[in-house]
């Protein structure tokens, strides 16, 4: 069926609403990559099998990632006249109990994460209650989603559908207001009006650099050329960031709708999604979404009967971090090695095959349908003066509530780490948060009150980047972290510029010397002067930002560098060459756990007597520390 009119779209919406809120009991399993990695597929299959065996009528469907990754696998239950209940850490063994509860109308409180009493369809600005009248007694004590510290401060725009719809169902996307913005654009708005609305919203590129999106579109619109391209950058190579993957896996249609609206505004006829090969599920979900959109006349010739032609192809990356840089990305789509080139000319004037090309990142595109649906004014009221809207962050590392969160710009790092992230596990102390991936920097505890927006992060010597927040505790060595990032960039440098190719290598060598006890006076200054050269002389963003993690760790954690160099000591006890293992005879219970895992036979001792570790044999692999229950292995 092709969607040609508002009536068609409304018809699809009705169908989608029936599948989102069916009459029978519906169980949704979060099956994005993170869910699958913790066993969501088994849960899904066990639910189907067990329900069939019992002849229990339930609908088992899949959904994307709602963001609470530390509680995966997550299962949601939607029943008539009841709030929606989310269960966490569900495994196949819990399935029979869960089904018992469903048939008896009970709720197993110990597995519950939270409940939702209503659902917000953000793109159309409506809310839908899960039940009318009084709440059933069994669910009254369950904490509401918006009261949970993890969700309280969140506002979901780009990730509004992730964990709510089946990513393969175009009807469910439409039911939550999807493709209505496209219809509005095609029937009611001139391209200039669309660009005006995006400009008014204040949306800035969520790929990291924060260039105003509306302005970028305007430049592309003004380029005179018969052929223009739209590109979605889904290369997400920043280690520690995975919001693009979650959006593509959980809500691929929002990216397509954003791109079609962009194509209309700019006057483009072809689009590419450049997706990294490390994301096979994202590529699969995108392919299904593109196929469905074509079937329904939302892609291809004469979109929604408006006369507009536009189609999208997927271009699969092949594992090169530098291809996230737009000129390298375009070279890669053209089938060449992904080497960046000089700008200008900018892609909006001369991009893919020399034609004007507009590149935006996944999260940027995902915001577009909501901005059009609710208006630029509405969007611009969220966030700070210079940074509007929300930003999706992945909070990972040494933090209790690991996951994906979408919060208004301007939230402080402290709120993100302590409230949303739930603080540091194992009673350790917060040390730093790394933002912006390899191009970013480490922000120390003293700056935790910093409001998060593009300008404030830059002032602190870091960047927004794609939104990875890696939380580090006092057991993280900052020199090791700097070495890690420089090593990463040395590997991923395309090699075109000498400063980046040789500079990162030399910096890594110096950092390696420092972490292995060969550091000498003057190394810090040498790193700083090398950093200045690499920064100034390299062509693309990879090289010009490569020294950031080194510079920011020197700026805030110089004492740690000095301890390594002058005292040959690693304060965080991470650098292998500078630490020793020993067993505390007082604490050791003689359980033999360490002895069995030690690969070198370095630990000896009898049951129930304190064990001894032979330092000559010890390779410091840490296997013993991992299994020692009384924490008797001391690293010093």
């Amino acid at each position: 069926m092709r969607i040609q009119s508002l009536k068609n779209l409304e018809g699809m919406k009705k169908k989608g609403l029936r599948s989102l809120y069916p009459d029978e009991t519906k169980v949704m399993v979060g099956m994005a990559t993170c869910g699958l990695a913790t066993g969501a597929k088994e849960v899904f299959e066990a639910l189907k099998k067990e329900a069939e065996k019992r002849k229990q009528k339930i609908l088992v469907t899949k959904t994307g990632c709602i963001g609470f990754c530390s509680r995966e696998p997550l299962v949601d239950v939607v029943q008539k006249e009841r709030p929606r209940i989310t269960y966490g850490e569900v495994d196949a063994k819990k399935v029979p109990g869960l089904l018992d509860d469903l048939s008896e109308g009970k709720v197993s409180k110990e597995w519950v994460v939270g409940k939702m009493t209503e659902d917000e369809c953000l793109a159309e600005g409506s809310k839908r209650r899960y039940f009318e009248g009084e709440e059933p007694e069994e669910t009254r004590e369950i904490p509401s989603y918006d009261e949970l510290s993890f969700y309280k401060k969140q506002k979901k725009i780009a990730t509004r559908n992730c964990g709510f719809i089946d990513p393969e169902s175009i009807e469910e996307y439409i039911a939550r207001g999807g493709y209505f913005s496209l219809h509005k654009v095609l029937t009611d708005m001139e391209p200039e009006q669309v660009i005006g609305d995006i400009k008014k919203s204040g949306l800035r590129g969520r790929g990291g650099a924060g260039f105003p999106t509306g302005l970028k579109w305007e430049i592309s619109r003004k380029s005179r050329s018969g052929t223009k391209y739209i590109v979605c950058n889904a290369d997400e190579g920043d280690p520690g960031a995975y919001m693009d993957r979650s959006i593509l896996e959980g809500d691929p249609h929002t990216v397509l709708e954003g791109m079609i609206i962009g194509a209309y505004a700019i006057g483009a006829s072809e689009g590419y999604i450049y997706c990294r090969t490390e994301y096979p599920l994202a590529i699969e979900e995108l392919s299904i979404a593109i196929k469905k959109a074509r079937e329904y006349g939302l892609l291809g010739k004469n979109i929604m009967g408006s006369g507009m032609d536009f189609d999208i192809k997927i271009s699969e990356g092949a594992g090169a971090f530098v291809c996230g840089e737009e000129t390298a990305l375009m070279a890669s789509i053209e089938g060449k090695t992904g080497e960046p080139r000089m700008r200008p000319p900018f892609p909006s004037e001369s991009g893919l095959w020399g034609k004007p090309t507009n590149i935006n990142n996944v999260e940027t595109w995902a915001n577009v349908p909501v901005i059009i649906g609710r208006g630029g004014d509405w969007y611009s009221k969220i966030g700070t003066k210079e940074s509007k809207g929300t930003k999706v962050f992945s909070i990972v590392g040494k933090i209790n509530n690991t996951g994906l969160v979408e919060v208004p710009m301007g939230i402080t790092l402290k709120e993100l780490v302590e409230d949303v992230g739930g603080g540091i596990p194992n009673n350790r102390e917060f040390k730093a948060v790394q933002t912006g991936g390899p191009s970013g920097g480490c922000i120390p505890k003293s700056l935790l009150q910093l409001p998060v927006d593009y300008e404030e992060l830059a002032k602190a010597g870091s960047i927004m980047g794609s939104g990875g927040l890696i939380v580090m505790d006092d057991e993280t060595c900052m020199v090791d972290v700097a070495k890690y990032f420089i090593g990463f960039l040395e590997d991923e440098s395309c090699g075109k510029c000498l400063s980046c190719r040789e500079g990162t290598e030399r910096m890594r060598e110096i950092l390696e010397d420092i972490t292995e006890g060969r550091g000498k006076e003057g190394d810090i200054e040498l790193l700083e002067s090398l950093a200045a050269v690499v920064k100034d002389v390299s062509l693309c963003g990879l090289g010009s930002t490569a020294p950031n993690p080194v510079l920011s760790t020197i700026q805030y954690f110089r004492d740690e560098y000095e301890a390594h160099i002058k005292e040959k000591r690693c304060p965080a006890r991470v650098c292998r060459a500078l630490v020793q293992y020993r067993i505390d005879p007082e604490a050791c219970t003689g359980c033999r756990a360490c002895l069995t895992v030690c690969p070198e036979g370095a630990i000896t001792g009898e049951r129930k007597k304190a064990h001894v570790l032979d330092r000559k044999k010890c390779i410091k692999c840490g296997a013993c520390v991992e299994v020692c229950k009384p924490d008797a292995i001391i690293v010093e």
Binding site: E42, G240, T402
Partner: protein
């Protein structure tokens, strides 16, 4: 020598002659053989008219391509930042010791290739190891032997992607 040059020819032909498809072409050949045989690269250059140097430069630039044969099972240990700070390097060492192979190399029996990759985007489950299509989260050194055993046995049907109970 390639065992089935006809297969490669048909992959190349399915793309036509456009240079833009070079990466996809290499990806399909790699999917078929688990590496890029030298003869295949020569054949691509001949059929598409692209200089052999360009085919080689693309084949060696991207991490996903390998010019040497790889094992039946590909182990990718994630070394993204979250995995790094949560012990990814130690997991790499442990797997290396278990299989007696260095990162980047293949076991003598061609069963496993051990690789390190930069972020598979499962940072919340760090440290993460991906083996073939399965992602294992919260891996510890202790869990490594049990995980590897399943692939060594070859009965992947029973494979559960859930982390083992410690």
């Amino acid at each position: 020598m390639i065992s089935n040059p006809g297969k490669i020819s048909s992959i190349i032909e399915s793309f036509g002659a456009a240079g833009g498809s070079l990466i996809s072409m290499l990806q399909e050949i790699q999917a078929e053989y688990h590496y890029l045989p030298r003869d295949a690269l020569v054949l691509i250059a001949e059929r598409t008219g692209l200089p052999l140097s360009q085919v080689f430069s693309t084949a060696t630039f991207y991490n996903a391509f390998s010019l040497t044969p790889r094992g039946k099972h590909l182990i990718s240990v994630c070394l993204g930042t979250a995995c790094h700070v949560r012990g990814g390097p130690k997991i790499t060492d442990k797997i290396g010791r278990e299989l007696n192979v260095e990162a980047g190399a293949t076991t003598d029996d061609l069963q496993f290739t051990l690789e390190t990759v930069r972020c598979v985007g499962c940072c919340a489950l760090a440290p993460v190891v991906r083996i073939d299509e399965d992602t294992h989260g919260h891996v510890t050194q202790k869990k490594v032997p049990a995980i590897l055993k399943k692939y060594a046995r070859g009965d992947k049907q029973d494979e559960d992607t859930k982390p083992q109970e410690s």
